[in-house]
Amino acid sequence: MRSPLSIDGLSLTLADVVDVARNNRPVELEGDARRRMQRSYDWVQRAATNDQPIYGVNTGFGSLARVRIDPEHSSRLSLNLLRSHAAGVGPVLPVPETRAMMVLRANALAKGVSGCRPLIVDTLLAMLNKGVIPMVPLQGSCGSSGDLAPLAHLGLAIADGDHGRVRVDGVELSAAEGMMQAGIGRITLEAKDGLAITNGAQLTTAIGALALHDAISLVEAAELAAAMSIEALRGASRAFTESVHRLRPYKGAIATAANLRCLMAGSALIDSMPEKLQDAYSLRCTPQVVGACRDAIRYAVDQVAVELNAATDNPLIILEEDGENKAFSAGMFHGEPVGIPLDVLKIAISEVANLSERRLYRLTTGSLSQRLPPGLASKDRPQMGMMVPQTTAAALVSENKALGWPASMDSIPTCEDQEDHVAMSTTAARRAASVVSNARLVIAIEMLGAVRALQFRLKDEPGVRLGRGTQVGVQRAAGILSNLGPNRTPSEEIEALAGWIEAGGHRDAVSGLEPIA
């Protein structure tokens, strides 16, 4: 059993989220956080019976905040919120993304400003630790006021009653059955519980965090693929000289140039055509383009890092503030701070893939490839010509352009004009995840082409030295491909390399590279 991750609403990292979501790392609630939650809960319980209206505690929701609710109905108010807000449609959210959403919601509550009991977090964490994962429909959230519908589906699994569906080891069950089998008690809701479970953009952030993690890894794979292609195309190294990039000192470009130098160090193919003064942009401008993407991704990483440990509830209970009313109604649930960075992520990753596709085009085009065989076809393995995979890459980067439409730029008024600007951040996150997986396939295709191209160079010039990093990259990638057997299709080769990249196989191939974050 691995050591549990302790959550306190303050220190959750992107790596932690991935670990809980994909590697089932156990999670526990930290002691101070538990005490903070209890104090905040105690205040709400007292306030719920007072005359002072507190949003969602003794009032209705959204535009119905104008209606006062008798304190004796507060449990039903919470339950009704979950039931009527379970408005998701479409396919079911995959398990890792659901797990990420659960740990993010638990961490937001662990800040101790939502007025809800530690029991809610304990229940969420018990579900994570025992693998009882709610069925959450993917579509229907506007990302404000939070991912209400998806989180309401999560809440229905927790709240006692004949509602909610869960998956346990891939088997779909009623929530009552699944929780009973796992020995996890369901909760009778109290004042504000419904709001505390639903108010925040945790689905946006869950999908976005996993996509961002994959994007960071993908940029490293893209730099390796670029180095391999540049060597295969007998590129010139002067464009990557450190002093050049110090004169236009973008952090990302400096890092990409450094990584290319590191990966290509010692290569006998680089600078092997002194008559060629400069290369095409898809080679020469790799630091400028991929570097700009690194800078954009770093912005997204910074924003998401804030959101991972943010209070996203409404109202917030801030006991340190003076005055009797400790409940602060604000707009912390609004998905915009995450939606915009995820739309930016789409642009960045689309450009990483666009550049890759153009390098692949050069590798496969006889007149552009410094005498590589046209289409990278050979007598040995004729079915492995690379013309068709290049077309596949073109289709993928084109699809990214359509997915790149910025979802967070849109808004449609909701809730009788009370919630008259919404984030659409959930759509941004879903599209970002699609762009990243399309881009991963494109990088895999470039790598496939570059491996073949370098194998041609090695055949033409036996023993020619490859770069320090590219040599390892070629070895590893060729190893993956050789496992596939002689009758493999390009489709199988691309998926195998993409799977290798997705699992981070390229990351331990080469050490000493500049990370993004």
Partner: protein, 492 residues
């Protein structure tokens, strides 16, 4: 029922029924025409050797014809991503068989018959959905089908033994049959959603007591758009005998008053798209063509005509999404719904009623805006400067399919809310602008609207106090997709 494949007369509707399991047979005349076409083939080198040497370098001449075909087809199996659902693969196979049946492609009848045999035995190849640029055809997806048809991957015992000729290896993949097939299935779904949307709009008009002027035949005819005339005609039919939709109601908001204009645009666009699709389905989408004993090199594999039509249809469909969402907004908005309670329930506050239902519609409508991005405005040079302009039609088709799922749920939501609103009217439940209950006479529904209301209620109960919303939304979406709202029960 059996659909006869003859290279002509294949409609979107027929292709949709094949997608869902209808049997197919090659027409005897088409069989004879195909044979005559092959017999007219001039002597000379293999088409594949001549045209596709780039795939295998200069080594084509060293390969046997069979080896070359196998290499060609397996080399094109470069699709990636999620698997295309079986009905869409079936539709693609039938569409390709019909192109071969045009008897212009230099293929033997058996090339089409093998595809039809697979359809009748429900042998459905695994086809990855991504990787085609829609020129020169949907090469990769069709190659995944050809791999099975050509016997390069396992087929069930008893299947016809078939090895493609060199032209057949080319002809089976060299056209946009996947784009056309996906577009045709999508067009059938769009029509289904549109029919339900007109019914939903009638229910909403009845629920808010709309003015009758906007669907007056004189008004829409004066503007001449056939789609607008049709929508108004169908709305009048649904609302015949209505006490609520009258000429003395005054002007409504645009989402109601401009229904013939907005939804009529989709009617016209859909008809235009079906025309393009049906031309393509029955057209010689291959290259080169064998005509009058000569090989002719054209660009019939290019997806531009269909890509453009599907992108246009997406734009019009997005308008249905946004206009239905606005009607949903009005129905849930106490101050805009002419006396209906906020969120269409009593006891609001403790109940949130259908508050979130409108958010879901808004979220889906916003998704549609993104999906409407025209795929065909992009092109990327491929294949060594040779295929230097491509259509991106398959992306348009897949996004259209995704969009129509969103719109089916949006229209389902309007049905759900309009039915609830009609219940409140029938019960005489009304509120003033401040949300206080007022007396109102129970309303009697127009007979056809009453029928629609009963079909909703057969599957979704009236909402008194807050319940779990999701099953209602799922049922509402099914009413649209199955056409049960119109008293039918169809495959989606």
């Amino acid at each position: 029922m059996t659909v006869t494949i003859s290279g002509e007369g294949l409609t979107c509707q027929r292709l949709h029924s094949i997608a869902h399991g209808t049997a197919v047979v090659l027409c005897a005349d088409a069989h004879a025409r195909m044979q005559a076409n092959v017999d007219s083939m001039p002597d000379g080198p293999s088409i594949l050797e001549e045209k596709r040497h780039w795939l295998v370098g200069g080594f084509a001449a060293e390969m046997s014809p069979d080896e070359l075909c196998r290499t060609f087809i397996l080399g094109h199996c470069a699709g990636v991503g999620p698997r295309l659902p079986d009905p869409l693969v079936r539709a693609t196979m039938a569409a390709r068989a019909n192109v071969l049946a045009t008897a212009t492609t230099g293929c033997r009848p058996v090339a089409a018959e093998v595809l039809l045999e697979m359809l009748n035995a429900n042998v459905v190849p695994v086809v990855p959905s991504q990787g085609s640029v829609g020129a020169a055809g949907d090469l990769a997806p069709l190659a995944h089908i050809a791999r099975v048809a050509g016997g390069y991957a396992a087929r069930p015992a008893g299947s016809t033994t078939y090895r493609p000729s060199s032209k057949e290896a080319l002809a089976v993949i060299n056209g946009i049959s996947m784009t056309a097939a996906l577009g045709a299935v999508a067009a059938v779904r769009v029509r289904r959603v549109l029919d339900a949307a007109i019914a939903a709009a009638a229910m909403t008009m009845e629920a808010v007591g709309a003015g009758a002027d906007c669907i007056d035949d004189r008004v829409v005819r004066a503007r001449r758009h056939p789609g607008g005339i049709e929508v108004a005609t169908r709305l009048r039919a649904w609302l015949k005998g209505s006490d609520q939709v009258r000429y003395d109601r005054g002007a409504n908001a645009f989402s109601i008053r401009a229904t013939p204009a907005v939804m009529g645009t989709l009617v016209d666009e859909l008809s235009a798209t079906e025309t393009v699709l049906e031309r393509e389905l029955n057209g010689a989408g291959d290259n080169p063509l064998l005509m009058d004993g000569e090989w002719l090199e054209g660009g019939n594999f290019h997806g531009a005509p269909v890509a453009q039509a599907l992108d246009s249809l997406k734009t019009a469909l997005a308008q249905l999404a946004t206009v239905s969402e606005r009607r949903t907004f009005r129905l849930t908005y106490g101050q805009l719904s002419k006396g209906l309670p906020s969120f269409l329930v009593r006891g609001t506050g403790l109940n949130s009623g259908f508050m979130l239902t409108q958010y879901t519609a808004a979220s889906l409508a916003s998704e549609c805006k993104g999906l409407a991005h025209p795929a065909s405005v992009d092109t990327i040079p491929t294949v060594q400067h040779h295929e230097d302009h491509v259509s991106m039609g398959p992306i348009a088709a897949r996004m259209l399919l995704e969009m129509v799922e969103c719109v089916a749920d949006i229209v389902g939501i309007e049905l759900l809310l309009a039915a609830q609103a009609l219940d409140l009217r029938m019960r005489g439940i009304a509120f003033d602008a401040d949300g206080h209950p007022v007396d109102a006479a129970p309303v009697r529904l127009a007979p056809s609207v009453d029928e629609l209301h009963r079909r909703v209620r057969a599957e979704i109960p009236y909402w008194e106090d807050d319940e779990v919303l999701h099953p209602c939304l799922a049922s509402a979406g099914r009413l649209v997709r199955t056409a049960r709202i119109l008293g039918k029960d169809l495959d989606w």
